[in-house]
Symmetry: C3
Subunit: 118 residues, 3 copies
Amino acid sequence: MTDKGYKVVFHLGTNDEQVWKSLIKQIGNVQKEVPAIIVEVITHGLGVELLFSNSRFSNVLEEMANRGILFSACRNTLNERGVSSSSDLISVARIIPSALAHLIFRQSEGWSYIKVGI
Amino acid sequence: MTDKGYKVVFHLGTNDEQVWKSLIKQIGNVQKEVPAIIVEVITHGLGVELLFSNSRFSNVLEEMANRGILFSACRNTLNERGVSSSSDLISVARIIPSALAHLIFRQSEGWSYIKVGI
Amino acid sequence: MTDKGYKVVFHLGTNDEQVWKSLIKQIGNVQKEVPAIIVEVITHGLGVELLFSNSRFSNVLEEMANRGILFSACRNTLNERGVSSSSDLISVARIIPSALAHLIFRQSEGWSYIKVGI
């Protein structure tokens, strides 16, 4: 790390709502501990459903995004699922070309990695 | 890595005993391969149960701790579960404020990361 | 990273065929995004079954190996399962002494880490 700031990617591949709830709470805990941390949640596979506009977590996710959390959805996954419009996602979601490539880029830039799930 | 020594954090979030057994065996294998390695098992969520004083693995964990393995439990999780006293944990367990923050700090310091579980 | 090139280890511990299929597709996606990337799939536990010579994915794996993907199986696991001969594995599989030690070495050398599975 040449970088003073902490940065972390959370790798989310599941649509298990218990895991989603736990992730939301954990991000809050991490921000309490490390207020300046930069956090990105990178979703692919079933995990992209967290960012669907009809998700029942959409309000809390938008509030988290306002506090600086980044939420990214894998375009490869969206294409496979026929989700072609960003209006199918919560407004704060970013679309990235490949979740796995993105996870690799981030780690190469010194971000820490956390695999979400039990 | 400016550091010659290998260091690794194991991220444990499950109370699946098969996974625990496998983790214990794997740590032994890693130590055989890399005798000087520094190993920390970081538990949160259901994973903290590995370190409960009534765990049936308490003897082997204490023996591993005597060989230098670190075992850490997340205070956020313990608080949520109403585990307020360190006497509820095996004697060698350390309490850390936040498992996820700790995983991030360690990786930033050059430790490798292994997510435990299948 | 002093290294210009991207390198990644995929940590596979499951014999869930859906996960295997997803991994194969994901590696293809990553290679499309980052053509020069170096990819190693490191298997242990039930994950070594991906590399068994009777795997129904053996053809696609051999084709991937010809494109440069590395496939490694943990000798500790193979010994426990009584798989003593490399002829029980697909021809392109490499046997490594310890999957976990290997994951640690790779990360220490700057490789990114992805835990496979949901």
